[in-house]
Every structure is written in C-alpha cells, then in structure tokens.
Amino acid sequence: MRGNTLLKLVSLLVLAGLLLAACAPDPTADNPYEEIDYSEGLSVAAASCDYGGKIASIEATDRLTVVFNLCKPDPAFLAKAAFTPFGIQPREYLDYAAASKLILEAPVGTGPYQVTEWERGDHVTFTAFADYWGAAPAAQTAVLRWAAEGSARLVELQAGTADMITNVSPADIATVQGDPNLQLLFNVNPNVFYVGFTNTFAPFDNADVRRAIAMGLDRQRIVDNYYPAGSEVASHFTPCSIPNGCAGDSWYETDLEAANAMLDAAGFPRNDEGVRFTTSIYYRDVFRGYLPEPGLVAVEISNQLRENLGIEAEVVVMESGEFIAQGTQGLLDGIHLLGWGADYPHVTNFLDFHFGSGNPQFGTAHPEIYEALEAAAVLADVAAAEPHYVTANNAIRDLVPMIPIAHGASADAALASVTGAYVPPFGATQFAFLDPGKDTLVFVQNAEPISLYCADETDGESLRPCQQSVETLLEYGQTSGDTSGELATACTGNADSTVWTCTLRDGVTFHDGSSFDANDVVASWAAGIDAASPNHIGNTGTFDYFAYLWDGLINAPTE
C-alpha cells in the first residue's frame, strides 16, 4: 500500500516535470508573442527633473526617430549611448521575457550573431544571423568559452583549440611575441589602478596620513616590476589620452623624508618596533588590465608601507563580489586596491563616477572636487571645461581620496592565422570582424558571463557576448572612441546638448524576425532607466550603468 502511494507520487512528480518542461518558453521556437506594428510612438518621462538625473524623457516621435530630452546638458551623450548596456531589444520580447527572466539567457538583438545555446559552466554558442543588415560575419559559428587562469587560456591558444584569448598574463607576453603561430594584440583601453582610502575610518580620516602614503609609495617600482611593457605611472587619475584627463598638477613624487615627517607631525610616531599603526590592504584576486598581478601588487604595497613608512598592513584577499560591494559602499576600513577601465571616452567616466557627490567609496565626498566636476560636466567645449578640471584634479591631489598608481597595458592574443584580429580601446572585440579561416571561431575569455541581459550587468565578461548579438544606437570605432551610427544612422544634439535626436536605420530585423522601430528603442531604454517600468527587472535589478551614467533612475523608489 505504502509502495503504491510512493509510486503514484513519483509518477505525479515525473508527469509534472514533463509538463513544466513542455510549457517552458523556448527562444528558438516560433515567437510565442505577437509583433506590434508601429502605430503610435511610445515615451517614457520623469515627472520632473527634481529627481536629480539627466533623462527628462525619451520619445518616439515617428517610426524612425527618437528624441532624448535631458534635464541638464550632457556633452558625453553620444559616447554613452554607444555603450553596450544600452542595447536595443524588441519591445514585444521585453514584455514577454523580462518578468520570466528568460531575457537573461536568451537575448534578442539585431547583431551579426544570435545566441543559440548557453551551456552553463562551459560555453555560449552564437550563429551568424542570416538577415543581418550589415556585412555577414566570416565564421558561421562563434563559440565563447572561458578559463580563469592566464596560462590555461594560453595553452588553449597554443594548442589551436582557441582562435583568440583575452588578457595574456604579463609573464606570457614574451612567449606569445616569440611564437610565430601567434599574434599579440595590445589593448589600449584607458584605465587606472589606484589605492583607495575611506575617509570615514581612522587614521585615513586625516588628510596628512593619506598625503604621506601618497609620497611614501614608490609607484615606479610597482610599474617596473609588476606591469607589462607599455604601462606607465599615473600622473593623474584619468589617463592623458582622455581630453582634460591630465589637466592640473602631476601627482606627488616619492619623498620618504617628507612622508615620514608628515606622519610624525600628524601624531603617528613609530613605536619601539618601528611601527606607526596597523591597517589592512583589501583586494580581489581578479586579473584586470589595470592590475594584472593583484596578489603580488598587494604584497608589494604592504612591503613598501612597512619598509618606507613603518605602517604594518595585513593583506586581505576578498571574494570579488563582496569586495566590490563593500569597497564601493565605503565599508572597507583599510586601504583597498581597485581600478577602472574606461567605458566611454570622456573624462566624466573617470572623475564624475569616483568623486561625484553621491559616491561613498572614499567616504565623505569632497565639495572641492565635486563642485568643480559638476561645473565642468555641462560644458561641451573641452577648452571651456579645462579650468574646472584643473581645479578638480588639483583638489584630488591635495585631498588624496586615493592614490593613482598606474595606467596598465594589457594584451589579448590570437592565432596568426586569424585575420582581422583586433582589440578596440572601448567595448569588446566584435567576433564578426574576425576571420579564423574556418567555419567556427573559438574565443576564450577570463570568466563566464553572469547574464546576457547587459542592461543590468557591468562586468566585461558579460558585456562581450552581449555586444555580439545586441546592438546599440551608436558604436565605437575599432581603433578609437569615436562613435558612428549602428542602429541609428545619426544622433544630433541641440546647441546646449540637452536634446538629442536620433534617426534610426530602416529595414533592420531582430533575431526573432520582428522589425526594428523607434518604440523598441524607447522600450529598451525604459526597461533600464524607469524604475517603475514593468520590465525593470533585470538580473539584480540595480541597472547600475543606467543609474550611474544618467545620474539616477526615473521613478526610483525613495529610501
């Protein structure tokens, strides 16, 4: 009797499982949603500009025209609009797939490749999109895989099981250069590695302590020994390749005598063992172009603090997500090692994010810095903005919320047989431009994507696959940060950069067969920027880039 009941229960469970599997949405099947033809333009708008953000409204004024009205001027609008998180997906698909989170695994874009399979833990497969509006990709299939260890990625390349890999370890660069079967591709993405302080914790609430450490670190020694050729000591937080990045005075030179005198005067004399105070150095053990050897650099900085200044610093490695969460919220009570790679080619991408009034990463924000940045951010003219950036950079140098250490060079590598291999300064390598000389291209990156809905992702490992299948209004060049039309043929601003009108490309088809129009643009942006949108769900729901690049979300709930 009991056996029969159990059998029935198991049978029921199996049946329920089969039914659920049958009912699960299959993105490769015929669309389970209906295409909505353009009849009336959609719009999304803030109730007023009092919410503090930049976006006042986004309107589809006709089938192929979208108008962005801003609350305040944004001369970097074009550079931001080309960024992968602002990719366009069909409005019908957003309505269908956002709530179920199907969109996280099966994006529907207009790009040269469409996602056909994501085998978790192993690979993502892309297939060339037959109806792509641009040039067809050389390889019919592209496979994205990942390996955390640089040596493992290189072995894949050397063995010919990968056509291109990201982030060659500094120690392997000479190996790649000496191998005639491989090509080394330097990455010129502007970046900065810095040593951050949180000024709400003692002793880093004392500007003299921060200044002394700035003068006590031998940054040249770090760059010479732990960075590949082509890296440089940072003279400013922002790399000089960005206009106005290097406005103002250069960073402090190493001066141990002055640094030690400053610590003495600040009330931190050495004890009998030569130690002034103890602290912690927090970091995450993740390879980045701005910090290729995080563990080694953490130990090196700890050594320098002890030997040069008498500061005992314990090295603490943290899990990446926890480190970012705590670091960016200003919760780390010691020194933290972090960096930044440019998302778009504008100085605001570096300075406004880190030193803006709302960023708690370095503790209490300094008005001497953010007021100058706010004054500069509304000026489209580089020369007119320069005096403000001089003020801001000099204030950063004086107040030392962090110490800029290096602008790191890094490199990807490809088989010599791959033609068209490149690494753009902004965004990711487009698989469609690579010709492996065979049907399938295999690309190996550092880690698995978190999700494929990049409106709500920030890590490069997720943005890379997104960029292959979901296109944005504009795109960056292969060798520069200059933008050109992608889904828009052009976007033009008014005189004070507060109204941007984008004319869309006609005849574009999404991977699901639906036609691209202005309402898709409004719906895609609304899902990210409007916290009240029913499609504002995403992966974590934070939509960081929408919030940060546009100074906040429309209809964000009050805390």
Binding site: S169, T175, V299
Partner: protein
C-alpha cells in the same frame, strides 16, 4: 569511596607500558628501513625548522627589488652550476615579489611542522578526553558524544574544514582550529574503543576494587595502555593535517601573505607552472617530503607496535 594510598598501587602499575615495551618498540621500529628513512627525514626537517634563521640566507618576507639587481620570478642562480659569480646566489630562484624562494621554503618547514603538531595535539587532547569519557562512562553520555562524533565524520573532512573556516574567517589560526576539529572524531573513536577493551581487564578491576576513583583509573591505568594505537594514528594524522593545511592555504583560506607557508606559495604561483616551474616545484616537493616522512614513520610505528604485523613481516 576513597582514593587508595599511593603506596598500595605500585604492584599493579606494572600493567602500564614499561620501559621494556618502549625499548622493544624502538628495536622493532629501527629494524624497518622505511621507518628509518621517515625518521631521518623528519629529524632533518625538525633541525631545519629549529635552525631556519641560521640556514636561510635572506629574510623570507624581504623583497630584494631595491637591494639587489633582481627581477620578480628570477630563475635559480647556483654558482656551482655556472651562474655568474657577480650575481647573487638564489638556489631556488625568487618568487613573484622578488623574495628568496629558498629562504621561504626553509621557514615554511617551521610553519608546516607547527601546523602538524599543533592541530593533531589539539585533536588528541579533545578527542582523547571525549573518547575516554564516552568509553568509561558509557550509557547516555557515550551515546551523545559518539553520535556527535558520527555527525562530524559524516562530512568529508576537507569540506567540513572549509565550512568551519567560512564561519570563523580566513587565516592560519582558524585553519588550525578547523583541521583540529575534523580530526577529533578519529581520536575519540580510537580512544573509546581502547577504553572499552581495557576497562574490562583484570588489572583495572583490581584497581577499582582498591577504591581508585574513575579519573585516577582513566589517567593512570587505562590511557597509558591506550597509547600505542594513539601514537600511530597521531603520526599518520600529522601528515594529513599538513596536507589539509597546505590545501586550505592553496585555496587562500589558510595562511595569508606574507607567511612562508608552502600551500600559500603554491597557490600564489600556480599560474606559473609553465613559465616559472621552480616556484611550484620546491614548495610542492617540500610538502611531499614532509608528508612522506610522517607516513613512513607512522607505518613503521604501526608495524612495530603490532606484534601480529611484526610476525607477518618476519615471515
């Protein structure tokens, strides 16, 4: 019940292991080649650990970047093998922070032996206490203690250690506690079994009849007779503890920088297997050598303390 006067007990105390048993065990032990090799390696490692400051040419935490013309991960330089005389000798090369690898491996001996002895020591103390109480008291106390031990044994020991560290936090000290905790059940079960067997023997009954207290009987009569299997288990467990500590440090959960712990050294340079193999070879070899020494010695002790195995080996 009163504790018997000390003068009434000497005759019975002969039941405890005597010097002759120790001598016999040592004689048997040193008849085995493997045990001699293990003991010799261990003696060598202990000497290295004691005299590490004298043997190591450099401070193991000192970066040589501004002291000598060196580069990070510099290859080994041995003058005897043709390395230029004007270049400083680093027989195991330099690590990723330009620290002398030889000095770090030498100081690593201290840490590894300390890990082995301290974790097993702690596990023995607690495990013996629990096992002895469970075995001697019996009843519900035995049930409670041994079921608790069964629960601990139900988890894979390494995963349990990781779980404990997750709660306590990273670091060598917490790793030591974690390894000690996962080793406790082995010693508790061993001691309980010995106690159950020994407490029924006549010399224990005689001591009890003389009015000795349970604690006295446990400490003076039963535990000394339970020592042989404990020593064997302890020796083998030290090898396991060193391996577990190295594995935890390799994963970044145990010893932290700048400690010269072999597992940490392996973990930090694991990506250099192809470009700087000497950075993973020497710490790995040191771990292997230490574990081998304890295993050989443990096997030898087991054979020496088990007359049946000695008989078999003689045939």
């Amino acid at each position: 019940m009163t504790t018997p006067a000390a003068e009434t007990l000497p005759a019975i105390s002969q039941a405890a292991p005597s010097n002759s048993l120790l001598r016999l065990t040592m004689r048997r032990l040193f008849r085995q080649r493997n045990a001699i090799i293990g003991a010799t390696i261990l003696a060598f490692l202990i000497l290295v650990a004691i005299f590490a400051p004298a043997l190591a040419p450099y401070d193991p935490t000192l970066s040589l970047l501004d002291i000598e013309p060196v580069t990070i991960r510099q290859e080994p330089c041995i003058h005897l093998f043709g390395c230029p005389e004007d270049q400083a000798q680093h027989i195991m090369g330099l690590d990723g922070n330009a620290r002398d690898q030889f000095s770090r491996v030498i100081f690593g001996t201290r840490i590894s032996l300390f890990i082995g002895f301290s974790t097993v020591g702690l596990a023995i103390i607690i495990g013996t206490l629990l096992g002895a109480v469970a075995g001697y008291a019996g009843g519900w106390l035995d049930n409670v203690i041994m079921r608790l031990m069964d629960v601990l044994l139900a988890f894979p020991s390494f995963l349990l250690a990781i779980a404990i560290i997750t709660v306590l936090g990273r670091g060598l000290q917490n790793a030591l506690y974690a390894i000690a905790i996962v080793n406790i059940p082995h010693f508790a079960r061993l001691i309980r079994a010995s106690v159950l067997s020994i407490k029924e023997q006549e010399f224990v009954a005689a001591t009890r009849a003389l009015g000795a207290s349970p604690v006295w009987i446990l400490m003076k009569r039963i535990l000394p007779n339970a020592l042989p299997p404990l020593i064997v288990q302890a020796t083998l467990s030290i090898a396991g503890a060193i391996l577990e500590a190295a594995a935890l440090s390799f994963l970044g959960l145990g010893a932290q920088e700048p400690a010269s712990e072999w597992g940490t050294m392996l973990g930090r340079e694991r990506g250099q297997v192809f470009t700087a193999p000497y950075l993973v070879f020497y710490p790995g070899f040191a771990i292997m050598l230490t574990v081998l020494a304890f295993n050989l010695l443990g096997d030898g002790l087991r054979d020496a303390m088990d007359p049946r195995l000695s008989q078999v080996s003689k045939r």
